[in-house]
Every structure is written in C-alpha cells, then in structure tokens.
Amino acid sequence: MTARQEQDHAAQLEALLDGRFPDARGRFGPWGGRYVPETLVPALDRLQAGVAEHLHSPEFQACLGAELRDWVGRPTALTPAPRLSEAWGAEVWLKREDLAHTGAHKINNALGQAMLAKMLGAKRVVAETGAGQHGVASAAACARIGLPCLVYMGEIDCERQVLNVERMRRLGAEVVPVTSGDRTLRAAIDEALRDWVSDPEGTYYLLGSVVGPHPYPYLVREMHAVIGREARSQVIERAGGLPDLVVACVGGGSNAIGLFHGFLGDPSVEILGIEAGGRGAGLGENAATISFGRPGVLHGTYSLLLSDDDGQIYETDSVSAGLDYPGVGPEHAFLHTIGRVRYEYAGDVDALNALDECCELEGILPALETAHAFAGAKRWARDNPGKRILLGLSGRGDKDMPTLAKFPKGGAR
C-alpha cells in the first residue's frame, strides 16, 4: 500500500469514527445507499426521519436502556475462558451475548426497532429470519411492546431450525415458510421486502442485520453498538487493558459490527471477522462474501456479494443457517476496503470442531455461527502466542441441536 493510500484510509476511518459515515445518502464511502422500488422510498424517508428524531433522544435512550437492563439482562457477562486459553496459548475472554434474553445478540436490535416501530405508529411488524434467532427476538420484542408480528422464514431453514419455529409461534408471531427462491434467509428477505412494498405505511420492517437500504445498516449497528461499549469497559476493568485481538463471526455482520465499533478507534487492537467457509472455496460452496465476493446490489444496498459474471446471486452453503447469506453489511465492505478489519473464513468442519472444543473446555455450547469465530481465533492464537483475545460469543447453540445431531461428536467429518 502506498503512503497516500494509507493516509486516505486513515482519513476514511476518522470520518467513520466522527459520525460522518454513513453520509446523507446512506453511504460508507462507496458502499451502502438505497436501491429499492420507488414505493419504499417514502417509507425509508419516514424511517430515517424517525431515527434522526428518536434514536438518540434522552427519552428513547432512557426507555431502551431500562428495557435492555430489566428485560434483556444487560450488561451481558464477560467470561474468562481459562481452559481454552491454556489450549490455545492465549488469554481468551468471551463476550456473552448468548446470555442475553432469547439467547443471542439479536434481541438488542429487535427490541430497539420494535420500540421505534411503536413510536412511528406502525400497525404490524414483519421480519425475516435465517437461523430463527432474529425471528424469535422479533417475536419476543413485539410481544413485549404489543405489536403483531409476522416472520418470513425459508422452508429449508424452518426444517433445520424447527425448535425456533415453535418458539416464535409460542411468542405469538405468525411464521410464514417461504417456498420461493433458495428457500433460505435470502428468499425470506425477498418476501419480507415484498410484504413491506405492499403496505409501506402500516407495516414496519424489522430488518435483522446490518444489511439492506439506508438507514438500516446504521440503525442496526447503533442498536448493537452496546455490545462493543460494554465489552471495552469490561475487558479494561477485568483484564487490565485492551485486547490484542477482537474477533467475531460475520454473516450479514450485525453482532460483529456491534462488537467491532467499541474498538475501531483503538489502533493497537487488531480486528478480525470470520465468515462461513462452508465446504470449500468455489462459488456456491460457502457464504464467505468478503473473501470471495464482488461489488453489487442486493436487498437494497451496494456491498460485496456472491454473484456470477452475469450478476445473478449465488446459492450459498454453510452448516450454519445464520451465516448462510450471499451479502454482507456495507459497513463491513467499507472496513475491509480501508483495511481496518481483516476478514477470513472458517469452514464447516473447523467450526464444528471448534464448537466441540468450547463445549468440552468451557461448558458453553455456542451457536454454530459463533463456532466460526472460535475456529478463526484459534488459528490466530497459533501465530500470536500469549496475546489477549476478546471473542464475541454471539449466541447459544441450543437451536442448532437438530443440525448437530447430524454430525456426531468427533465423528465422520
């Protein structure tokens, strides 16, 4: 990299840290924006105005803070992982979003957006879900707030996350299996967007990751930034200083962006995002968007995505339904472009092995999504002995039991 490029990247990072990105057009540098049918533009304008008016108002923040404390259970714990530390030759700390209500980081965003939807006068909420965690969080948050909730979920995901489907229904949500497209998260987003296009005034679309048209990538990041704020102060207090590495799994990237934001301004902290490497490096064999993707537009935003030479979106493949998405949030594309965050991938087998190791050594069953972060962190630790690692444990793995049952412990993989 030339000195000029380095200067440019530093200036771009400064702009992000100063709050100048996303800009007025919803862009992080070249990434982001709003690529949606005209019908949705007024709804996005209203949402943007609502976000500007309420999100950082003292009243909203006070209500949200109280709910995060009393209902979600924040702050979540920072757990030292002594046996993993010994096995890896590093000092490992876990930020425990699996201990948040409903079992994953998703609840921070679902609760905040449901509160916002109510303030903006929405009559109903639609959401999409992949692994089901965002669907469960949305269903729970809507029940808490008192709004009807409809969740679109790909038919394949409904089958592999059957427990979460039942949870959503018990929490009062209507779950609609999506039989079109690839019948996973991507098709569920398509369907939720079509629903919203059909009733943009009465419906609030509770988007589950830092993807989609502006202002969603910004809004969802702000809802999850609490993870990084808590983690930074906890690790300084408990470990006596900043970590050398902050690491998290990246599908759409909401848990990762929330954690990363606490540390972007700390130049001594290396930041690593781990994508789903699936079965291999070929297109269609993984969901590692930043590692193998190209610039393009999907679901309303300009970012990196897995598409072919003709612009068709590729089917993805990952053992983890929650990472099985062919795009990534535009802010991650930006952080990759300016080199502030490094993105690697871990394959299915590595993730499954990492999950077993965490279970055996720490008594924690992480989500399959998070298992990718464990695999990536372990690899990093080999090259960086004795360093301090802070890992975002994005959710618990109970929901993955039907998938895990297909991969016997230590078995044929």
């Binding site: 709003r34 690529y35 949606v36 005209e38 079509r194 598409s307 612009g311 068709q312």
Partner: protein
C-alpha cells in the same frame, strides 16, 4: 430520432390513432428459450412497446408469476448478454421499440458503458430498473443518456408530488406509473383513488405516462386509457404464454372494443 424518442413516439402514435398504447411485458426466454425471438417478434407486432424482462435471482418488486418466470429463464441459462445478442441478431427487427426491464445487479455486472454500447448496437431503446430510485440513478442515467437510450423512471401511489415532478423531468421514453402499492401481478388496479393519482401524474409529466401493475382485462385498459396514454401488461401476458396461448390474440383481446 434517438432511441428514447422512438418509445415516446410509439406511445403518442397510438394516441393519434385513438388507441391506448399497450406496453407488453415478457420475460426473456420464458417459457421457452428457443422461441424467444419468435415470441418477441409476435408481441412487437401486437403491442406498441415491448418490455423484455431480464431474469434476476432476487426480483424484489415482483409477484409469483414473474418470480416463476425469472427462475425458469435462469434455469435455461438466459443472461443479459444472451438477450442482447438475440435481439441484435433479429431480422427483421421487432416492429415496436424494445426496452429491457432489469434489476440493477445484472447491469452493474456488465458495466454501464458496455451496457449502453451493446444495447444501442442491439437496437434496444432503453431500460426500466425497478430497484433504482431516482436518487441513485445518476451513474446509469449518464451512460444511457450519452447513447440516447431511455431510462424509464417509476412513480407509485405513495410517491410525494415533488418526487413525481422530479421523476417526470428525469425520465425518458415514458413515465411508469405503478398502479398499486404492492408487487407485480397482485391486487387488481381500480378505484377513484387510482384515477386521481394517475390524473395527477399525467398532469405533471411532459412525457407520456403508462400505468402498470395489476392490469388484466380490456375493461381496465379502457378505464386507465381514459386517463393516461398507455398501459403496461405483464403478469397476465406471462401467464398466457405459460398456457401456450398466442400473445397476439391475448393482447388483441385487451384492446377495448369499439
């Protein structure tokens, strides 16, 4: 005459003959890839403008019919590049101006300059891009305008008046008025609200306005045609093609009697 002017002229010519212009949508290469040129030629004989859908894996604004058509075409290997080659190779050329309807990503993948060059060479008159609102359209618009091609903007019943005016100023070829707040092929377009909305759009637009989404019958064509110079028929025509019906006969039946 520039390609985008040919589109406006075709719609105005129908009006001069006392007809409502018919803009007919087909998905390229669906249901039968091998019959694409023949179908396009036949539709172009019966319609005033033809809208050829470029299949995309994630058609955000489309209902089940066009989703099914897009998937079917992709499975047969239909790509933007193939469509441009096929149209370029047609002899004689289609009898009506042809515009392509594509989501943005296939256009981005080709690159805007190359897209404009190839579209012009193929005889395509312009583009409709449903996931490209006015605010994001400048880069594509510049490339297409330099080649004299249309970029047809859309407005919907929830578009504020100030945006309708901006879209009407920016659009070339025609202004696409979406009849319903929803996806293609969905709720039947009707009602006094629709008439008022379309009349408002038509009053603001210096180019012809064509109304689309949910148009399935001659009665609708007649009612809409009383307010705007053109109507767009999509899902209903695709379904007729799926049933193996003659597109010419289907479109003729949409023309109001008398």
């Amino acid at each position: 005459m520039k390609p985008h002017e040919q589109v406006s002229a075709a719609i105005r010519a129908a009006g001069a003959e006392g007809r409502t212009a018919l803009v007919a949508f087909i998905t390229a290469g669906y249901p039968d890839k091998s019959r694409f040129r023949a179908t396009l030629a036949e539709v172009a004989e019966a319609a005033d403008v033809v809208e050829v859908g470029v299949p995309f894996s994630d058609p955000m604004a489309d209902g089940l019919t066009i989703q099914r058509a897009s998937r079917g075409a992709i499975e047969q290997g239909v790509t933007l590049s193939w469509i441009l080659d096929e149209i370029a190779a047609m002899e004689p050329k289609p009898a009506a101006p042809v515009v392509l309807m594509s989501y943005l990503n296939p256009l981005l993948a080709m690159g805007y300059e190359r897209l404009a060059e190839r579209a012009l060479a193929a005889g395509v008159a312009g583009f409709i891009v449903p996931d490209l609102p006015l605010d994001e359209s400048e880069p594509l618009d510049e490339a297409l305008a330099a080649a004299g091609l249309a970029l047809i903007h859309l407005v919907s019943p929830v578009t504020p008046p100030v945006r309708v005016e901006a879209a009407a100023r920016a659009t070339r070829g025609f202004l696409y008025a979406v009849n319903v707040t929803g996806i293609t092929g969905g709720a039947k377009a009707a009602g006094e609200g629709l008439q008022a909305y379309l009349a408002g759009v038509a009053a603001k637009s210096p180019v012809p306005v064509c109304a689309g989404f949910g148009v399935r019958s001659a009665e609708q064509v007649k009612a809409l045609g009383a307010i705007v110079p053109g109507v767009i028929v999509g899902s209903a025509l695709v379904e007729a093609l799926e049933r193996g019906e003659s597109p010419a006969a289907f479109l003729a039946a949409l023309r109001p009697a008398g």
